[in-house]
Symmetry: C2
Subunit: 173 residues, 2 copies
């Protein structure tokens, strides 16, 4: 590592926490993501960053659609197990949560979610370990009011960890 | 606008607030940005999104370097005037703040900043009104500890507004 880089500086960047889902024909998958942002206002475009090793990456690459659920502070730690630390190759992540199908066919998790949106991929960049997918929003909905769950709240209040596949993972020193 | 899109859903996405700067030979400029994220851990890459109309966009496009200062909650509203709502074509934005020059030559604002980082652009995507610049981090430093300023805090506590050039701007309905 470049000695000019102090990784602690990256911890000062702010993020929310989201479940990003996609589908591959009749199969579906989703995962916890902290890197969802709106990138333009007109049209309303969003970007998500997904690790290439993740099943959700495979599904978005094929189907060119994804959905986002904005989590709120009511989400308990056990909620993060299947979506954050297990692979859809091994378990059915949707077995123990509530969701509805969007216009894109993607499952949108409604449990512990303030709002949902869906997008069609219009561009992407290969970032090395990850891909950034840029999507045109095709639907969005507010489910309830509340406090969005932030990455900081997840770490400081819920004492949550980040898996090595996260773009913001900090390796042990 | 697509009637399936409720723009209020976008307000649930979380962001920090940053000053992104760049240079063009001996000229320098910077602006407030809410869309700075880390996109990969190895190597530590960051992305910033800048409106094409902004002078900072012109400078990053030419010099291929940018710097980021992570703002903290100590930043008063008057701090946001020059960097958020004025153009570097009209005023010297650095006249009333403290900064230091980074290894890339970019000015890094140190006032009301928790940490700084600098990056060299390795890729970019044309998003329409905005460009996303992807950069390899070449230096980063923690200046002090404190609470990062969030976009939510800026809106709710400081009663700040977003200019129309922001990717998260909400048009009047």
């Amino acid at each position: 590592m470049n000695p000019e880089i102090d990784r602690r500086a990256f911890r000062d960047l702010s993020y929310g926490l989201y479940i990003v889902t996609s589908k591959d024909e009749d199969r579906m998958n989703g995962q916890i993501v902290n890197t969802v942002i709106q990138v333009t206002s007109d049209p309303p475009r969003v970007a998500v960053i997904i690790n290439k090793k993740n099943l959700t990456h495979e599904y978005i690459s094929k189907s060119k659609v994804f959905a986002v659920s904005v989590l709120d502070e009511s989400a308990p730690m056990k909620f993060f197990g299947p979506f954050g630390f297990r692979s859809g190759r091994d378990i059915d992540k949707f077995e123990k949560t509530t969701y509805k199908e969007g216009v894109t066919g993607c499952p949108m998790v409604t449990e512990h979610a303030l709002s949902t949106l869906e997008a069609e991929v219009v561009d992407q960049i290969d970032l090395g370990t990850h891909t950034i997918f840029i999507g045109d929003t095709v639907s969005s909905e507010v489910l309830k009011s509340g406090r969005p769950l932030t990455y900081r709240y997840y770490h400081e209040e819920l004492k949550g960890k980040s898996p090595p596949a996260a773009p913001t993972y900090t390796p042990p020193e």
